[in-house]
Structures are given as C-alpha cells and as structure tokens.
C-alpha cells in the first residue's frame, strides 16, 4: 500500500480520537497500557546541567553587538500628572543615544501592550497612578550606567494629586478619585455577586452562626530575573528576546504594532526565564518596554535592551489584597449550612469572589459572595500563583473557624462537607462512574496519607492546650481544596525524527519557568513513540510558529500533554507505515520496504527499535531505519550514481498534534465538576513572648491524577510550601501612608522564605486518575503556594486559642492577637 493511501486510513483515525477527546467532561479514553518513562523517578532533567553550571542564558543575559541599554523614568509620587518635562540635559549627556518622551509624535495614543487579554494602554503614560510607575520618558544609552545618570538629569514639573492606599477608604463617600482617567465615576471599579440557594433557610438551619473578618495585605511575585527584553530590527524584520511566560502572545502583540507586522516576519526567542509565577507576564503594560525599545532601535539602528531594577520588579502584586468579612452557619456536627462573604479588594484584576471555592468543591447549599473591586494608588495586580488566592484564603479561614468554634477535628468537617456545586459525594460518585473515571474518594485518600505523614491522630489537640517544654505553644492545622487546573486551552506541538540518528525533537516555543515540563513532554513523547528517553529532546526557546501553551491560564500538561501525545501517536503511525512501504521513491524507481511484506500493525517500536511483534528478533533501530542523510545531502549517493548502493533516506518523519479543550468556568461553559482534592497539614510552634511562629513541619498531599514527572511534581510541592509560608508569615509590600511611597522594594525588607524557615516538608502524591488531562493528569503548580498561607491562621489559633485577623501573621500581629501588643 502506498504511503499516502495508508496515511488516509491511519492519520484521521488518531485525529478523530483526538477530536473525540475534546469532550471535556470525560475521562481519557485512550491512555497507554504501559508506562516506561511517564511516572518514572530519576529521569534526568533536560535543563539541569545548563542551570547548575551557570551556562544557562536568560533574557537578561543577552548581549548583542552594538546593543544599547534602556532605562525608564519612574514617578516619585503615587498619583501625579506630568505638566511639563525638560529632557535637554539628559539628551546632551555623552553616550545617550535616544530619549523617548510621552509627547513624542512617534508614540500612538494607545497600543496593545500585552496582558492576560489584549490591552490598549499608553506606551509612556503622562499620569502616574502609583509611586514607581514607569512614566514620561525612557533613555537609551551606551551603558546602563549612562542611562541611569541621564534619568537624574530629567526635570519634571509635576501636579500632585490625592492618593489612597486602602480599598475600604477608597470606597468611602467623597473619597478623591485615584484614577480619574479610567474610572471617572468613582473608585469602585466593579461589584460582583455570586449567589446559590436560600441564605435565610441556611442560617435558620444552623446551630451556630460565626462572624469574623480578615485582612490580607499587598504581596508580590519577586521574579529572580527582572522584567527585561531585547529588541532588534533585522532590516524590516523584528527579532525579540522576551522575558514572558507566553512568548506566542508576545509575538501577537508585536504583530499589532506600527500598522501591523505579519506574524511570519517576527522572530521570537524565549531563553530561560527567571520565574515570575504569572505575575509580570499577565499585566497589561508588560510589553511597554518592548514597544519603546522597538521605536528607539529603529531610530538609532542598534539593538536595544531594556530592563527594570530590583525595586521596579515590585511593579504590582497578587490580587488577594483586601478585607474579607464572613458570616457562617453550621450545625453542631460540622455540616455547614450557609456562607455569606464579602470582600473589598484592592486593584483586583479578575473577578474571583470569596465563595467560588465553596461552590466548586463542597455540598454547602447556600452561598452568597459579594465582591467590591476598589482602585487604590498601588500597582496593578494579577494572578501571582495564583488568581485563586482570594478564594482559597476564605475557604481555609471558614473551615478552620467552624472546626475550632465547634470543637471538631477539621478533617471531619472537611469530609462532611466535601462535594461539588452543592451536591454530595454520592452525586459526585455517580458523575465519576458515568464519565468513565474511577470511583475513588480523592479527599479521603489525601487525608489518610497526610494524617499518617504528620501523625495527626496522636498530635492534634484542642486549641491552646499544648505547651512544650521550651515554653512555646504547639499548634496544628489542616486545610484542603480541589485542584483548579482548568485543563483548558488550545495548544499545538510537533515532533520531528532527525536524519542520521533517528532521534526525536519536539518543536514548539514556550517559557521555561523551571517546572521541568520540557522533560515531562519528552517522557510523554518517548512512551508514545516507543523511544528511549535519551533519544527525545525538547529545547523550548525558539519559535517554530506553533501556538503552544506556556505556563499559562493555570494549565500546562493537561492540554499540552494531549497535543504532544497526539503528535506522537500520529508520528508513530507514520514511522510504522514508512517502515512497511517502499522506503523512498525517486526518478529511478522505488526501494524495498525496511520490513517487506509487513503491515504497520504487525510492527511496534520499543527502546527506539522497530520490531516485528510476532518475531521480535526481526528488528531495526530507528537510526538504521532513517539512515544517513549522505555526506553531500540526501539522495546524493544515489542520484550521482556512486554505485548501486541505495541511500536509506526515508520520507520526512514529522507530525503535528494539537488540542483544543474547553475549561470549566461556569459562566461560559458546561460546568465540569472538580474531582481531584488536595490536603495540607502543618505543625508549628508559637513563641508567645515574641510572637514568632516557627514552622516545624508541612505535609502537602496532592492528587495529581497521574504523575508524569515525579521530581517536577515534588518541586511544585516543596517550592509552593516555601512560597506559601513566606506569604503567610512575612511577605508584605509596605507603603508609607503619608507619602504613598513603597518602602521595602528590595529583598532585605520584603521577606520571602529562606532555607531555614521550614524545618521539614513531606511531599505526598496521590494518583486517582481523576484529572481531565491525558492519562488522568491534572496540574499541581499553583495549588500549594496558594493554599498553604491559609493554614497559618487556624494553626496559630490551635496553638494559642487566639485568632490573628491579618496576613501575613507577623510577630507584631500575633502579639496583638494575644493581647500583648
């Protein structure tokens, strides 16, 4: 059978299966029967040596011949307008090559400058809405030093305007406007309400009603690599090095500039990325530096690198800053009957209200959540590992309060209320069975593992009851939630088998933020193709033009995994088909098949060797099969008549796979019940004299459905635990209330966790197969760092019997809760 006839039969088969899998409510219908590399421990990291040895190049390391260095002017005031600006002294400084101003005729009034969605924003704003904002001017010079010096020579006449830092203050009647340009009618940007059930009935059924309040202060991402980028014009064509989690989106943004640049003329590089956990890449103005660099690079005819300093990386933050109010009704047995919550949020970017997680994964029938989104004079916020912080914090606080106030074990309270969209576990089990999932109780499995790991049954106690010999109070807490990876998005990836040695290259560009995802995609491709892991390689830094999801929209493997798997399955069919078809055709005829007389289904591939299933000794390595390309190019040996030896040149072995997958956001799609649960345990000591909280042990139990890369999953667990503990105990951006100036934009005074801040972490993975991704996977990256902060308030209560009402729980706030400050 000729190649193309075979492909008509085989290829659509895989494609139709792929399309069928886009039914987003079902379990993976076509998992592998056997896993060799998927889920195997000790697979060598692709990026390991480069990163350990210092050779890994990040965007901020890029240096090009003749490159200029560009720095932004920033606002000294939290809210002020530039009335006039004199840049003549800066322009006259030797070594300064360009000063771009807000009133430059080359700058459009608005441009698409990136963000989670496309945005329209001024490239160089004239009005600053937070202290430190990049406004007014940018200087490009021969060195960063000269650019910095030139910035000090810019004279600005400012008109200072009133500012407000607190979201509740911003909503007071008569409060001055903090952003009259965008929100001329008031500082309330948006109000949203979510409501389910009958609140009156819910509270009437309760044995106890608990009311409380909590505040979360401003915290941020801290990208080890600061925001930066390099822009070069190769004649008419842009070449861009981005520090961006979504390189494809960056390319699309560049394509919208200067009247439109065709996508195929833009070259994007995404070198290694010093993580920003969503953060910077999701903000509206994040391509502003590139826009200025593009204008300057064109004007000067040299490549331009722009970069922020450390303080400027404190540009904005996570979107959970605000004040949260709760009223909770519960029965004495721990059944929660109603939750009413209100959150007053500062600059919150996305509309995640305080009760979303109660709807997502509990049977609580009566819920009311009101969210007021206020504007304040601080930087913008976005999903910083991640947008669910404003949901998980209320969730942990409510469950912690209910258990403590009713004197119940918090684990029992969780299990009693587990469910989905107001439905109980019996309903959820029915759903699992109907959709082809295993009927397993994810939360119970997580809880059992975690309890054993932390010795819960022996160590947990009622609040304020356990004083240790060293004088400290001992506390424990538990919290839980679902994994919210939406397994949603569009992604395409390709695989090519290399000539000469038959190795496989994965093609697609995405940001490496350290998740070890590239190795994981190789594991999937290796198992699907039947290849050895060392024969599959993926370097994600250069753009072949495919739209691949990066760490993006809370989804990685659960969509990209399908894309790479689909590509691998199509490619494997192609290989087997080529192995049984005439090897190559040319003007002089065709060549015998590698496996004459066989059909593709008679063959299989294992350990990079093609073999006959009925007779495994009849085999040929992939390298032998694809053969040498020939010293003077493919076909040369044959075409130039150097004897009768025929080249083993096969047809190109390349396949492209993709996945389009709908998510579970209820407003837009069919609801997709969350099936995988996560459980978190903590053991602390509180020094009641100093207010110091010592974290002795964190146990993080995550049902990831199916593990693809163990070390990658565990990395997200302990890494998330450290980020979570920092957020809970010390991470806080502090602004001076008198001037609105950020006071601690550095790593000494903004304190995230160090090696010594957690004594011990136990990482436990659960594999129920309940994820919507390939092989039953679901994500893990966002959950741990987001949920663990909420553990600390119930833990401190368990230790001391007192409620801290503000995060981070600094020693001062702990002492205040204890009535000692």
């Amino acid at each position: 059978m000729a190649n193309n006839e075979m492909s008509k039969i085989l290829e659509p088969d895989e494609k139709s299966k792929a399309l069928e899998l886009q039914d987003n409510l079902r379990a993976d219908k076509y998992p592998l029967k056997e896993y060799n590399n998927i889920g195997k421990r000790g697979v060598r990291r692709i990026d390991g040596y480069e990163k350990a040895s210092g050779y890994a190049e990040y965007t901020i390391d890029v240096q090009l011949p003749g490159m200029l260095h560009m720095r932004f002017f920033t606002s000294p005031y939290p809210h002020a307008e530039i009335k006039s600006m004199d840049t003549s002294k800066a322009e006259a400084l030797p070594g300064v090559r360009a000063v771009l101003r807000y009133d430059d005729p080359e700058l459009p009034r608005l441009a698409n400058l990136g963000g989670h969605f496309d945005s329209e924003a001024p490239v160089l704003p004239k009005v600053a809405h937070f202290q430190g904002e990049e406004v007014g001017a940018v200087v490009a010079a021969d060195s960063e030093e000269i650019a910095e010096e030139a910035l000090t020579l810019i004279d600005v006449e400012w008109e200072e305007r009133p500012f407000i830092l607190d979201p509740e203050e911003a909503l007071q009647p008569g409060a001055p406007l903090v952003n009259p340009e965008e929100f001329p009618d008031g500082n309330l940007e948006k109000k949203t309400v979510e409501e389910h059930g009958d609140m009156e009935k819910g509270f009437a059924e309760a044995d106890k009603v608990i009311e409380f309040k909590c505040r979360r202060t401003h915290n941020t991402w801290i990208g080890p690599e600061r925001p930066c980028g390099v822009f070069r014009w190769n004649g008419e064509y842009p070449e861009v090095w981005v520090k961006q989690q979504r390189p494809y989106v960056a390319k699309r943004v560049v394509a919208s500039w200067f009247g439109g640049i065709p996508m195929n003329k833009i070259q994007i590089h995404c070198p290694y990325q010093g993580a920003s956990f969503g953060g910077w890449s999701q903000l509206e103005w994040n391509m502003g530096g590139h826009y200025c660099a593009a204008v300057v690079a064109k004007r000067v005819g040299r490549p331009v690198k722009w970069k922020f300093n450390r303080r400027e990386d404190f540009y904005g933050g996570e979107m959970d800053e605000g004040v949260y109010y709760f009223e909770v009704g519960a029965k004495n047995d721990g059944t929660i009957t109603a939750v009413r919550a209100k959150s007053v949020m500062a600059n919150q970017q996305y509309p995640f209200g305080p009760i979303t997680h109660f709807a997502d994964n509990t049977r609580i029938p009566n819920l009311y959540g009101e969210r007021l989104q206020a504007r304040v004079s601080k930087g913008p916020t976005t999903a910083v590992r991640c947008e669910q912080n404003p949901n998980t914090l209320p969730f942990s606080l409510v469950f912690g309060r209910v258990a403590a106030e009713l004197g119940l074990d918090p684990i029992e309270v969780a299990l009693k209320n587990d469910g989905c969209e107001g439905e109980d576990m019996a309903w959820l089990d029915g759903y699992k069975a109907a959709m082809g999932f295993p009927v397993r109780d994810s939360l119970r499995e997580c809880v059992e593992k975690g309890k054993a790991a932390i010795d819960w049954d022996n160590k947990w106690h009622a609040s304020g009851m356990k004083k240790l010999p060293n004088g400290n109070m001992h506390g424990m807490a538990f919290t839980w939630t679902h994994e919210w990876d939406d397994s949603a998005g569009s992604s395409e990836m390709a695989i090519r088998i290399e000539r000469n040695d038959g190795t496989a290259s994965i093609l697609s560009c995405r940001a490496d933020c350290g998740l070890n995802a590239e190795t994981a995609y190789c594991q999937v491709a290796a198992d699907e193709l039947g290849m050895r892991i060392e024969d599959v390689f993926y370097r994600q830094q250069n753009d072949p033009g495919f739209f691949t999801m990066s760490p993006d929209s809370s989804t990685n493997m659960s969509v990209n995994g399908f894309a790479i798997r689909n590509a691998a399955r199509i490619l494997k069919r192609k290989i087997l088909e080529a192995a049984t078809a005439p090897k190559a055709m040319s003007q002089r005829g065709s060549y015998a098949p590698a496996f004459p007389g066989m059909k593709p289904e008679d063959l299989d591939i294992k350990d990079s060797v093609i073999y006959v299933k009925a007779n495994p000794s009849n085999r040929m390595t992939l390298a032998e099969f694809v053969g040498p390309s020939g010293p003077a190019g493919p076909m040369a040996v044959y075409e130039f008549g150097e004897g009768a030896e025929r080249t083993a040149f096969t047809p190109p072995l390349f396949a492209h796979g993709w996945q389009v997958q709908m998510g579970s956001y209820k407003e837009h799609h069919r609801p997709r019940p969350r099936l995988c649960r996560q459980a978190y345990f903590i053991e602390i000591e509180v020094d009641t004299e100093t207010g110091d909280v010592e974290v002795k042990n964190v146990v993080t139990v995550n049902d990831v459905g199916k593990v693809v890369n163990w070390e990658g999953c565990e990395g997200q667990q302990y890494g998330g635990a450290y980020m979570g503990i920092g957020r809970a105990l010390s991470e806080e951006v502090i602004h001076d209330p008198m001037t609105g100036v950020m006071l601690n934009g550095n790593l000494l005074n903004y304190k995230f966790a160090t090696m010594l801040d957690i004594e011990s972490i136990d990482t436990e993975l659960v594999e129920t197969g309940l994820g919507y991704g390939p092989y039953g996977v679901i994500g893990i990256g966002e959950d741990v760092g987001t949920v663990t902060p909420g553990l600390l308030i119930p833990a401190i209560h368990n230790a001391t019997g007192k409620w801290v009402d503000e995060l981070p729980a600094t020693p001062e706030r702990v002492l205040r809760a204890l009535g000692r400050a």
């Binding site: 210092g54 910095e148 350290g514 070890n516 450290y722």
Partner: protein, 173 residues
C-alpha cells in the same frame, strides 16, 4: 525630586569621582587584564565584560547570594565587590567549577536542585566554598552555609541532599 544627592548614583559621584584603572586577576585559572571603572562591580565585569553569565544579579545589592564567586578561597558577593579592588586576586566562578567536573554539578542535576535556575549558580558556588574548607560538612552546617542564598522557587530541601552526595563522592564514596 531634589537635584543633588537624590539617588545612590548621585551620592556615589560626590563621594567618589569616577576613575579608571587597570586590574589583573585570575578567573578560573585564566589571567585577565583589563581597565575597569571605579564604580564597576565584579559581578558586572564577570557577567558583562567576560561573559561569565553564571554570576547572576537577582537582588543586585548583597541580599540574595546569586552572584556568589570564590575569591582567594572565600565565597564573596560579586555585586558588593568593586572590580577595581580585585587586582591580583584569584577568582573561581560557577563555570570554573563545572569545567573542573566538580561532583556538585552532577549532584545538583540528579537532585533536581533547580527550578527556574536563576539562583542555582550562587548555591553551587557557596556549596563548593563550603566543601573546600569543610569536606565533612554536616547537614546542619550545609544549611547554615546556604541560608543566605535565596531561591524564590523554593528548591531549598534539595540542596543539602546534593551537597552531602557531592561530599561523599569527593571522598571517594
């Protein structure tokens, strides 16, 4: 903003006018001779002038350890060291440690001590300096030595494992 002394740079200009001087130092066994400005940090010279990009500027002011290099046997922060003061010094960077096939590198890869990897070279350098002076370092001593290196991805629990493994290997284990 006031015109004078309003930034660190302005202050530095008043306090110490920019001069330039030749320095000669050894980096990873190679002798370098170059003219440096008095304000240039060693991190800047290594990273931007010599292309040794493993010395990373994470905080840029002595708060994180990412720019660590070994100078005359001691780990130092290259962002807090002026290049002009390094005349005659012997400097070892992470690239040199890798080139010498120090077992720390492979132990770091095996234990997945990196995520985004931006801070990883600083950890490797600090750990190498520790093992140079204390080949039998205990887990506690390793933690203490590495406590000043910040990692935002939270790879912390893996480092002591890797350093202990490398120490064992160095002793023929």
């Amino acid at each position: 903003m006031s015109k004078e002394g309003s930034t660190a740079l302005e202050y530095a200009k008043v306090a110490a006018p920019v001069t330039e001087a030749p320095v000669r130092f050894t980096v990873n066994g190679e002798v370098h001779e170059l003219w440096v400005k008095s304000r240039w940090t060693l991190q800047y010279v290594l990273h931007d002038k010599l292309g040794l990009i493993g010395a990373k500027a994470f905080c840029d002011r002595g708060e994180c350890g990412a720019c660590s290099v070994i100078m005359d046997g001691r780990p130092i922060l290259s962002c807090m060291t002026l290049a002009i003061e390094c005349d005659g010094k012997n400097i070892e960077t992470v690239e040199g440690i890798a080139k010498a096939r120090h077992p720390l590198i492979e132990a770091y890869v095996k234990n997945s001590c990196m995520q985004c990897g931006f801070c990883t070279p600083g950890f490797v350098v600090t750990a190498k300096a520790l093992l140079d002076r204390n080949p039998n370092a205990t887990e506690e001593e390793i933690k203490e030595a590495l406590a000043g290196n910040l990692c935002r991805c939270g790879t912390y629990p893996q480092h002591p494992k890797a350093v202990l493994e490398a120490a064992k290997k160095l002793q023929g284990g």
